[in-house]
């Protein structure tokens, strides 16, 4: 049986992933490329005689090494040496799409050009002579329409033919880069070939080009292999660079790009013919943009769309979420009734089922959000959102696309940071993404809302709506300011260039959206079974152990035996619960923290609740209830707790404000932390926990002391 590896390359928005889906269907799996967060998709096709591995490379415009995506794509070609590469091209923008193809040809990998979106080309009246393109480029050319799978089989057949024909042999394309660069390049090639410098992997001329382009990745690798030769090549490149800078006012990399485009232009001239009057033709997409990115209408429509995403995610998503909650409630009840009273039952019910159930409960939310974001992304709208908002977000060191994670995380009170953090994937620029990840959890997520509602209802009953609005606005202000600070300190650096394509509007394909949604949802659900299970058991243990000593338990037993009055029994239970929680690790932490937390007006009860809140913010209200010896408090009916807080002379209105501030800013809940680590790194997630909690405390102390003066 013969085995083939085929790479699929292409520009972003060229329909590459749609074609990949059409070729592989459901036989694909997703992982990350080693060491980076760039997605790796692999699909397998098996026939009787062949096994084919299709690797979907990240979408890139070029094979330079400036972005992770480009580096991943290039290293795959160089290190894995696939037998064939398929370059899926948006044939409607053939000229620009050929830029990547030319770079692959310069490397020499056998190349099949997939002229995708031929339906759009034909509709626009353009004509592409694909036979001529095949002749001029020396590549196999197949016309395709990925959306309906047209040409997919031919593409695969052409690739396999080429793979058989070439047998892994590379034949790099040599373009002239003009009278200034060509002689130097020839000298470089002679030197490189004489010493077999990197030639086991890549053509000599390619290495030369990369030295001229000052490609850091290649230069560093070169230095490690042969320092002397690398130095020579670097100085040659520097010399010619100074020369071209003087004579042509351009660096070699610019000249090389110009000549590549020149080569492409000479091909295009014979291949594409434009309809007459093309200049006046306004495409449908451009017409849509006149409305959708209109200066005044555009932002309004955007607000509407954001609101709609949000509404659908949280209202429609709530229905299956309710089913899941009911299911886990039922499982919990069943376990409770079957297992004998004791630690095992408590572990299974409170630790495992509640913990994992709480996490899986988010699955419908994540599904709905990704369903809509995938659809919006595929339709081309997300790029427009970035375009319209970029100016504002740039002030804070963020990127136009940062708005989506913010909104989903609770920018409109009631969201959830977990899908919000996952939505940062739409940010292509790494620095802006890190900053967005860090601050998105400050938003007023659904779990914080009950805490805020309870506190405002208790301490500012006349103004609760205003206070809630102020909290939401304060969360935005804090998030943007902290992002600004981060971007000028820890993740310093110029903003990533905002040179972006606005792809034409397209109808998303159902298959594409569904596959996307499924991948993300599954990835999230898998986590629930592993890391999250571990952490929820740990937190359960912290809030359960050590238990009250036996004599105290016996004392409460004895007390209970003496009374028959229902109310007294309940009061006894509550006092015991309070004493029990004080005795646990969480309780001890809470009490140990009291000397410090006093500065922010928090007593040990609040501390326990906040400790529990690290697991999930929902826990804050109920734990506070237990600590104030009220037994379990329903988050919807927190009136008794509110009364108790107002009555507690140690907990003032100033404490309430400090508590609101602290809850807004401190460590994200553990599901968010895990998701964050997944999207960035564990160290960044740890920094977020520590940094945010530090900030939260400082802000809480500040607001407590200011509020004390004024209230």
């Amino acid at each position: 049986m013969s085995h083939y590896t085929i790479g699929i390359a292409g520009n972003p928005n060229c329909g590459k992933t749609t074609m990949f889906n059409a070729l592989t269907g459901a036989r694909q799996h997703v992982a990350n490329w080693p060491g980076v967060t760039v997605e790796k998709k692999v699909g397998h096709i098996k026939t009787n005689t062949k096994s084919i591995e299709l690797v979907d490379l990240p979408g890139t415009y070029s094979l330079t090494a400036y972005t992770q995506e480009e580096l991943v794509a290039r290293n795959f070609l160089v290190d894995e040496r696939p037998q064939v590469v398929i370059d899926i091209m948006n044939a409607d923008a053939l000229e620009r799409n050929l830029y990547l193809a030319v770079q692959i040809m310069e490397l020499g990998v056998p190349l099949v050009l997939g002229l995708n979106m031929m339906d759009e080309v034909r509709k626009s009246g353009k004509e592409i002579n694909s036979e001529r393109l095949a002749q001029l480029s020396g590549c196999a050319v197949v016309e395709t329409i990925a959306r309906n799978g047209e040409g997919a089989d031919e593409l695969l057949a052409a690739s396999l033919d080429l793979a058989k024909e070439k047998k892994g042999e590379w034949s790099p394309l040599n373009i002239s880069y003009g009278p200034d660069l060509d002689p130097v390049l020839d000298e470089m090639v002679a030197l490189i070939e004489a010493q077999n410098f990197l030639t086991d992997k890549v053509p000599a001329r390619w290495t030369g080009i990369k030295y001229l382009e000052r490609d850091e990745d290649v230069v560093i690798k070169g230095r490690m292999v042969n320092t002397a030769l690398s130095d020579t090549l670097e100085s040659m490149s520097k010399e010619v660079s100074e020369h071209t800078q003087k004579t042509l006012n351009a660096r070699p990399d610019a000249l090389i790009a110009d000549h590549r485009y020149g080569y492409i232009a000479s091909i295009i001239k014979n291949v594409v013919s434009y309809p007459v009057l093309d200049a006046d033709r306004i495409s449908r997409s451009d017409k849509m943009d006149r409305v959708l990115t209109h200066r005044i209408l555009g932002p309004l429509i955007m607000l509407g769309i954001i609101y709609l995403i949000y509404k659908i995610t949280f209202t429609v998503g709530e229905i299956p979420m309710g089913w899941l909650e009911a299911l886990f409630g039922w499982i919990g009840d069943t376990a409770y009734n079957t297992l004998p009273d004791g630690h095992l039952r408590s572990l299974v019910v409170s630790g495992i089922i509640d913990g994992v159930g709480g996490v899986l409960g988010f699955v419908p939310l994540i599904m709905f959000m990704f369903l809509m974001i995938s659809a919006l992304e595929d339709s081309g709208y997300i790029a427009r959102m970035a375009y319209m908002l970029d100016r504002i977000f740039k002030i804070f060191g963020l990127h136009g696309t940062s708005v989506l994670p913010f909104i989903v995380s609770g920018g409109i009170a009631g969201g959830c940071a977990v899908p919000g953090v996952m939505a940062t994937r739409t940010l292509r620029s790494p620095k802006e993404k890190l900053a967005t990840l860090f601050v998105a959890p400050y938003m007023t997520c659904g779990a914080k809302v009950p805490v805020f509602l309870m506190l405002t209802a208790a301490f500012f009953p006349a103004h609760s709506a205003t206070v809630m609005l102020m909290i939401t606005l304060a969360a935005w202000a804090m998030a943007l300011m902290v992002a600004r600070v981060l971007r000028s300190t820890v993740i310093k650096g110029a903003s990533t260039p905002f040179v972006m394509e606005l792809p034409p509007y397209r109808m998303p394909t159902l298959q594409g959206v569904l596959i996307h949604t499924w991948e993300r949802t599954w990835e999230y659900a898998k986590k629930a079974g592993t890391i999250i299970l571990g952490i929820s058991i740990l937190i359960w243990a912290m809030m359960t152990f050590p238990q009250l000593p036996e004599e105290r338990q016996a004392y409460y037993e004895a007390q209970r035996a003496t009374t028959q009055v229902e109310e007294q029994l309940a009061a006894l239970d509550n006092t015991e619960a309070e004493e029990a929680i004080r005795h646990t690790v969480a309780g001890r932490i809470g009490m140990a923290l009291e000397p410090i937390s006093k500065l922010a007006g928090f007593n040990w009860r609040v501390n326990i609740a906040l400790t529990g809140g690290v697991a999930a913010k929902e826990v804050i209200v109920s734990t506070l209830g237990t600590a104030y010896s009220l037994g379990e408090v329903d988050t919807e009916e927190s009136q008794p707790l509110a009364d108790r807080l107002v009555a507690d002379s140690g907990f003032t209105a100033a404490s309430a404000i400090a508590l609101i501030v602290f809850t807004m800013l401190y460590a994200p809940c553990f599901v968010t932390v895990v998701t964050m680590a997944r999207e960035s790194s564990w160290s960044w997630a740890a920094f977020s926990v520590i940094g945010s909690t530090g900030l939260a405390f400082a802000m809480a102390v500040l607001s407590y002391n200011v509020a004390k003066v004024f209230l």
Binding site: S62, Y66, A93, R96, D286, V499, M500, E501
Partner: protein, 80 residues
Amino acid sequence: MAQDICLRKARVNQKLKIKTVGAEGELGRRIRDLGLIPGTEFQVIGKAPLNDPVALRLRDFTLTLRNSEADYITVTPLED
């Protein structure tokens, strides 16, 4: 012959031709990767609500870039 101007100064709907691209390094490469090289003809089709970024229509596709990046590009207005 019309005077060369900086891309930042271009008006919406104006048709232009790229004269020079002064950016280097990552920015320069990104600009070129997306097809903005000397000789390219395009039209400014819009500016974002706060006048930044701008959207450009090249023959086959639409691009956006920030004013701070447009500063590196000089263009020749085309008479039409």
